[in-house]
């Protein structure tokens, strides 16, 4: 993103949706696409924002959060999905609700070839372990999709991933 460009509105729209959904714990491995949202969560005293060393830590952490009565969300980029798979098996067996928001890499206008394989595997891998996957292809869809995903996750005790397309996030520019 060029410096003079206005920051997009959808990350803070997601933040508002998460607040309305009663989210108290936000676990994340950083992604540029989530930077604004992560900053907003850290600034919010009502949210415990926790940076992880790897994404499956967040899967376990939010399971513990639910045991204690807290709702949470896990933020990552699509390459993190592969790190989560076995831990998601535990979540599936215990019917923990789990809301995840993934920003896609390796997908739309990608420059880095090493991002492509996991990107291609993200939807099949998540689906195989039982996660409901919902796509966001336009910025205007982000908030309503996260709101719907949160309701599905916490009302039915299911794993739900919202995948935000690189068309929305913007491709990383190597220059």
């Amino acid at each position: 993103m060029k410096a003079e460009k206005k920051p997009p509105a959808w990350p803070l729209e997601i933040y508002k949706v998460l607040k309305d959904a009663g989210i108290k714990q936000v676990a994340y491995v950083p992604d540029a696409g989530h930077a604004q949202l992560i900053k907003a969560c850290h600034a919010d005293k009502g949210i415990k924002a926790v940076c992880l060393t790897t994404e499956e830590e967040g899967v376990a952490m939010l399971s513990g959060a639910w045991l204690g009565g807290d709702r949470g969300v896990l933020l990552m980029q699509s390459s993190g999905a592969g790190n989560c798979i076995n831990m998601l098996g535990m979540v599936a067996e215990c019917r923990f609700p789990l809301l995840m928001i993934l920003t896609m890499r390796g997908h739309w206008g990608e420059f880095n070839p090493w991002q492509v394989p996991m990107s291609q595997a993200t939807v099949p891998a998540l689906t195989a372990i039982g996660v409901a996957v919902q796509m966001v292809n336009q910025p205007g869809e982000a908030a309503e999709t996260v709101a719907a995903a949160a309701r599905l996750a916490f009302s039915t005790c299911r794993m739900v991933a919202v995948l935000i397309s690189q068309r929305v996030v913007g491709s990383k520019q190597f220059k």
Partner: protein, 199 residues
């Protein structure tokens, strides 16, 4: 440094710790620590675990953040913690005052044929926890040391880390319930009340 052979009995250690649990929330790791906790007496506020290897300490962190007024005890194995070493760093940064991570360290993978883990060859989990920012960290070899540590598990401001060196001696299998959803619901109902747990 000369190798020090563990002498403590895991069942006895876990039973002694849990005798003082009061209203603490207990998160055992999969395998032997879960059998040890079951053997110490069933309790709805123990979340028996049959999977999710590497996630036990992080489940403890999520629970500790959600319940800051309750003590949370993670009781896991050396192999389980070694699979999620990054969680020591994450917990060390968060510094939850109500969390204690206890490793029942027999230096072996007990459920898969007693292959040695890295701790058998000197990998020092206590030093790692201390370097990661745990407020208190130590290794227990003897009954006297365990006695000294007992109040720290429950009252010392966390995060507290303790590796307790135990033998590989076989303990009789005591298997708790296996249905993850049932274990989860029972835990939440006991902690939050039925209607809050199923809102």
């Amino acid at each position: 440094m000369k190798y020090r052979k563990p002498t403590l009995d895991r069942r006895r250690v876990v039973a002694d710790i849990l005798k003082q649990r009061g209203d603490a929330l207990v998160m055992p790791g999969l395998g032997a620590p879960t059998w040890d906790c079951a053997a110490a007496g069933d309790n709805p506020l123990t979340f028996y675990s049959w999977g999710g290897m590497g996630g036990c300490a992080m489940m403890g962190l999520g629970l500790a953040l959600a319940q800051p007024r309750r003590r949370v005890l993670v009781i896991t194995g050396d192999g389980e913690l070694l699979m999620g070493l990054g969680s020591l760093a994450t917990i060390g940064v968060q510094k939850p005052r109500n969390l204690a991570v206890i490793v029942i360290d027999n230096e072996h993978y007990g459920e898969t044929g007693m292959q040695p883990t890295h701790t058998r060859y000197g990998v020092d989990l206590t030093a790692m926890a201390r370097a990661a920012g745990f407020r208190t960290a130590g290794t227990v070899h003897t009954p006297a040391q365990l006695k000294t540590w007992m109040p720290r598990f429950y009252r010392q401001p966390g995060p507290v880390f303790c590796s307790i060196k135990v033998t590989t001696e076989d303990a009789p299998l005591v298997l708790p319930a296996r249905d993850g959803t049932a274990i989860k619901n029972r835990f939440r109902e006991a902690l939050l009340g039925f209607s809050e747990a199923h809102k």
